[in-house]
C-alpha cells in the first residue's frame, strides 16, 4: 500500500482540499509578479501624480502638477485678490518695461525675499499726483528699496506691494524663479509667497501661516524640468505705459500684466500643438485704484 503524506491524510480526513506547499509558493510568486506589474503600470500611467519633491534653499519644491500646491495657490490668490481690491495703489517691481525709455526691456530688479517693511517712509508725506507709476515709486523710495534690490533678476521675478494711503503697505507678494541642477536634473523652480500686513490695530503686524506658524503666511513652490519651462505667456511681469512726461509729472503707467506660476499647469510649449500652456493666475494690475 502506497504511503500517504500526513498533510494529505489530514485533508482527506476532514474532507478538505487546499494548496500544497509548492502550489502556495507558486501562488505567491504569481501574485508578486501581478502586483509588480500593476504597480509598474500604474506608476507609469500616473507618473505625473507621483509628487516627487526636491529641496532647494531649505524649501521643498513639488514637481508640477501638484494638487497640494494648487490648493495653496488658490488660497494665496484669493487673499492677494482681496488685497489688490482694497488697495489705493499697487506697486509692481521687476519684469519687463519698468520704464518705457529708461528701462524698456528689463528685467528690472524686484525686492529680495527678506523685504518685510510695512511703511513706505519717503511717500508718507508725498503727493499722490507724483506717484502714478511703479517707476515713480521705485525712484521715490529708492533709499528704502536699494538695499533689497535683487541682483541679476530673472524675467519671471517680481515683487508686488499693495498700498493704502501713500505709505501703508498692506501686502507683499513675491515670485522667484530659480534655476538649479538638483540630483542631476536641470530644473526651473518657482516660489510664490504672499505676506499680508495687518493694520487693524493701527500698528502693523505680520500674520503667520495658520498651520505652520511661520512667515510668509501663504506660499507655494513647484518645479519643472528646465526644458519644459516654456510657456505661451511666460510667468513674470510686463509693464504697460500710457505716457512718460517729466515736464507735467505724468508718468502714467497702465495696468501691468502679471503672470504667476500655476502649480497645476503643465508647461512645455509645443508649436505643433493646439493646446497652449498658460497659467490661470494672470492679472492686469492697475497701479492706481
Amino acid at each position: 500500500m502506497k504511503p500517504v503524506s500526513p498533510g494529505r491524510l489530514a485533508r482527506s480526513r476532514g474532507g478538505q482540499s487546499g494548496f500544497s506547499v509548492v502550489e502556495g509558493i507558486g501562488g505567491l510568486v504569481v501574485f508578486a509578479l501581478l502586483m509588480g506589474a500593476l504597480t509598474y503600470g500604474m506608476g507609469s500611467l500616473f507618473s505625473e501624480q507621483a509628487q516627487p519633491q526636491v529641496a532647494f534653499g531649505q524649501q521643498a519644491y513639488a514637481r508640477a502638477p501638484s494638487f497640494d500646491n494648487f490648493r495653496d495657490a488658490v488660497d494665496l490668490h484669493a487673499a492677494f485678490s482681496n488685497a489688490v481690491d482694497q488697495a489705493d495703489s499697487v506697486i509692481v517691481l521687476g519684469g519687463a518695461r519698468s520704464h518705457p525709455t529708461l528701462d524698456p526691456n528689463g528685467p528690472s530688479s524686484a525686492l529680495s525675499a527678506s523685504f518685510e517693511d510695512c511703511v513706505l517712509t519717503a511717500a508718507a508725506a508725498g503727493g499722490g499726483l507724483r506717484a502714478y507709476s511703479s517707476w515713480d515709486q521705485r525712484q521715490l523710495n529708492f533709499s528704502q528699496f536699494s538695499a533689497y534690490f535683487t541682483a541679476s533678476p530673472d524675467p519671471a521675478d517680481f515683487t508686488i506691494l499693495t498700498v493704502q494711503g501713500l505709505s501703508r503697505i498692506t501686502s507683499i507678494t513675491q515670485q522667484r524663479r530659480h534655476r538649479a541642477v538638483v540630483n542631476g536634473q536641470d530644473l526651473a523652480l518657482y516660489e510664490v509667497t504672499y505676506q499680508p500686513v495687518d493694520w487693524s490695530s493701527g500698528m502693523p503686524s505680520l500674520p503667520t501661516n495658520a498651520s505652520t506658524g511661520t512667515r510668509p503666511a501663504y506660499s507655494y513652490r513647484v518645479y519643472y524640468a528646465a526644458a519644459e519651462d516654456v510657456w505661451s505667456l511666460p510667468p513674470g511681469a510686463t509693464h504697460y505705459w500710457y505716457r512718460a512726461d517729466t515736464a507735467w509729472t505724468r508718468d502714467h503707467e497702465g495696468p501691468s500684466r502679471v503672470v504667476f506660476a500655476d502649480p497645476y499647469a503643465l508647461a512645455g510649449q509645443d508649436g505643433s500643438s493646439p493646446v497652449s500652456p498658460m497659467s490661470r493666475f494672470i492679472y492686469f494690475l492697475a497701479q492706481q485704484r
Binding site: W241, Y242, W248, A286
Partner: protein, 448 residues
C-alpha cells in the same frame, strides 16, 4: 486540458486583487481631477464676481456723476433711474441676473453747492488715515481720488449706499448681494495749482501738454492736464495700450482728471455760471458795464473814460464784475498790499477786441480772477495771491509770480508769452475755497 479547480481559484483571486487595486487607483485619480476642477471653478467664480462687483461699482460712480457732476449738462433723472438705465445696457452671462435690491431704496445724490448759487459745504484739509474737520479719512478710497482730494481743503458730502441682488440659475450658492458704497467729495477747482484745461464740447482738448520751460513746476506745485493717448498727437504717449482704430477712448484711469480738466471748465465758462456770477454782482451793485455805466459808483472801481481801475484793497462784497460787451474798455487791477477777505473779479468781454487788463502791484488779498476775451499784461513782475482763470480767447504777457491757482486753455497756451512762476500756497487755497467752483469727485467700492 482543463486547469485544476484549485489553480483556477488562485488565478481568480489574483485577478480580483488586480481589478480591485485598479479601480481604487482610477477612483483616486478621478477624485483628484474632480477636486482640481471644482477648485478651479470656485476660484474662477470668485475672480469673475470680483470683476463683476467692481463693474457695478463703476456703474454707480458714473450714475452719480451723471446726476451731480460739475459739467455743462447733467441728467435730470434720479440716481435710481440712471443706475437702471446703465444696468439694463450691460449684458451679463445668460444665467446671471443683477438688479437693484427692492428692499433698499436708492438714495438721492446730495447737492454740491458752491458760489454763487449756494453756500458751499465747509471744507477742511483731509488726511489719509484720520478724519479731519468733518472730512473722513481717505485711505481705501483709491489714489485716483485721494491724489486730488489731498491738494487742499475739501468738503465731505457723505456716503451713498446702493445694494444689488445677484442671482444665478446655475448655482444658488453663487447668489450674492453686492453692496456699493459711493463716497462723495466736493473739491475746489483752485486746489490744483496749474491746470491746462480742455473743452471737449464747446472747444477742443489739448492733443499734447503745453510746453513749459525747464523747471517750470516747482516740486510742491501740482499740475493737471488730460491729453490724447495717441503717440502721434502727444509725443509723451506710448502705443502700449492705444487702440489706433476707431474713436480714441481714454482709459478709465483718467475719469477724475477729466472731471477736473474738461467737464468743470465747460461749466465754468458756460453762460450759466458766468451769468450767475454777474447776477450776484448785480445784486450787490458791483457791476460796471462800459456800454451802459451804472448810476452809482461800484465800490473799489474807479472809471476814467473807457478805463476802469479795480483797487483790490477797496473792493467790497464777494464779487465785482467789469463788463465790456463791445471791446472798447480797458481794466487795470491794482493789488492790495494787505490781506483781506477774498473776492471774485469777473472781466467779461463777449465780442469785439480783447479787453486789455493790466495787473500792477503786489496783491496780498486773495481773489479769483475770471478773464474772458482779455489781453492780460503783468507790469513790474508783481507777486499776486489768488486764482487766475484765463478763458480760451485770453492772451497773457509780462512776468508774474503767482501764489495759488493758474489755469489756461490747453490748446492755446499763453506760456510762450507769459513769464509766470507759480507757487503752491495752502493759505490761498483755504481762503479761496468758499468762492471757488467745485468739482464732484466720487469713489466707489463694492463688497460681495
Amino acid at each position: 486540458m482543463k486547469a485544476p479547480r484549485k489553480t483556477r481559484g488562485m488565478a481568480s483571486f489574483a485577478i480580483f486583487l488586480f481589478a480591485l487595486v485598479s479601480v481604487l487607483v482610477l477612483v483616486a485619480n478621478f477624485k483628484l481631477n474632480f477636486a482640481v476642477s471644482s477648485t478651479s471653478d470656485a476660484y474662477d467664480s470668485f475672480s469673475s464676481q470680483l470683476v463683476e462687483k467692481n463693474g457695478i461699482a463703476q456703474l454707480v460712480k458714473e450714475s452719480v456723476l451723471a446726476v451731480g457732476e460739475t459739467a455743462i449738462s447733467t441728467s435730470s433723472g434720479t440716481l435710481q433711474s440712471e443706475i437702471q438705465a446703465r444696468l439694463s445696457s450691460i449684458q451679463f452671462p445668460s444665467d446671471v441676473t443683477i438688479s437693484l435690491d427692492p428692499g433698499t431704496p436708492v438714495p438721492p445724490v446730495p447737492a454740491n453747492p458752491f458760489f454763487p448759487s449756494a453756500a458751499p459745504a465747509a471744507a477742511s484739509q483731509p488726511a489719509y488715515f484720520t478724519p479731519a474737520g468733518g472730512v473722513r479719512a481717505l485711505a481705501g478710497m483709491g489714489n485716483l481720488l485721494s491724489s486730488l482730494c489731498l491738494l487742499g481743503p475739501v468738503a465731505d458730502l457723505g456716503r451713498l449706499t446702493v445694494v444689488f441682488d445677484r442671482s444665478t440659475s446655475v448655482s444658488a450658492s453663487d447668489n450674492r448681494t453686492y453692496t456699493v458704497n459711493a463716497d462723495l467729495f466736493s473739491v475746489p477747482l483752485t486746489n490744483v495749482d496749474v491746470v491746462a484745461y480742455g473743452l471737449p464740447v464747446t472747444g477742443s482738448v489739448p492733443g499734447a501738454a503745453p510746453a513749459v520751460p525747464q523747471g517750470f513746476f516747482a516740486p510742491d506745485v501740482s499740475c493737471l492736464t488730460v491729453t490724447s493717448n495717441n503717440p502721434s498727437s502727444d509725443p509723451t504717449a506710448f502705443g502700449d495700450l492705444f487702440a489706433s482704430s476707431g474713436t480714441e477712448q481714454l482709459p478709465y484711469q483718467y475719469r477724475n482728471a477729466v472731471s477736473f480738466c474738461w467737464n468743470a471748465y465747460e461749466y465754468l465758462w458756460s453762460p450759466a455760471y458766468q451769468n450767475a456770477l454777474l447776477g450776484t454782482a448785480l445784486l450787490g451793485g458791483a457791476v460796471y458795464n462800459f456800454s451802459s455805466p451804472p448810476d452809482q459808483d461800484v465800490p473799489g472801481v474807479t472809471v476814467s473814460g473807457t478805463s476802469a481801475t479795480v483797487d483790490c484793497s477797496a473792493v467790497v462784497g464777494s464779487v465785482v464784475a467789469i463788463v465790456d460787451p463791445d471791446g472798447t474798455g480797458s481794466v487795470t487791477v491794482v493789488g492790495s498790499p494787505s490781506p483781506g477777505a477774498p473776492f471774485v473779479l469777473v472781466v467779461r468781454n463777449t465780442a469785439g477786441q480783447r479787453t486789455p487788463v493790466t495787473f500792477t502791484g503786489d496783491n496780498a488779498r486773495p481773489a479769483i480772477f475770471y478773464l474772458e476775451n482779455a489781453g492780460v499784461t503783468f507790469a513790474g513782475n508783481p507777486q499776486i495771491q489768488g486764482a487766475l482763470f484765463l478763458d480760451p480767447n485770453t492772451t497773457a504777457s509780462g512776468s508774474v509770480t503767482w501764489f495759488g491757482h493758474f489755469s489756461f486753455y490747453g490748446p492755446t497756451s499763453p506760456l510762450g508769452t507769459l513769464g509766470i512762476t507759480v507757487a503752491d500756497s495752502p493759505a490761498v487755497k483755504a481762503s479761496l475755497a468758499p468762492l471757488a467752483p467745485r468739482v464732484l469727485l466720487v469713489s466707489t467700492s463694492a463688497t460681495r
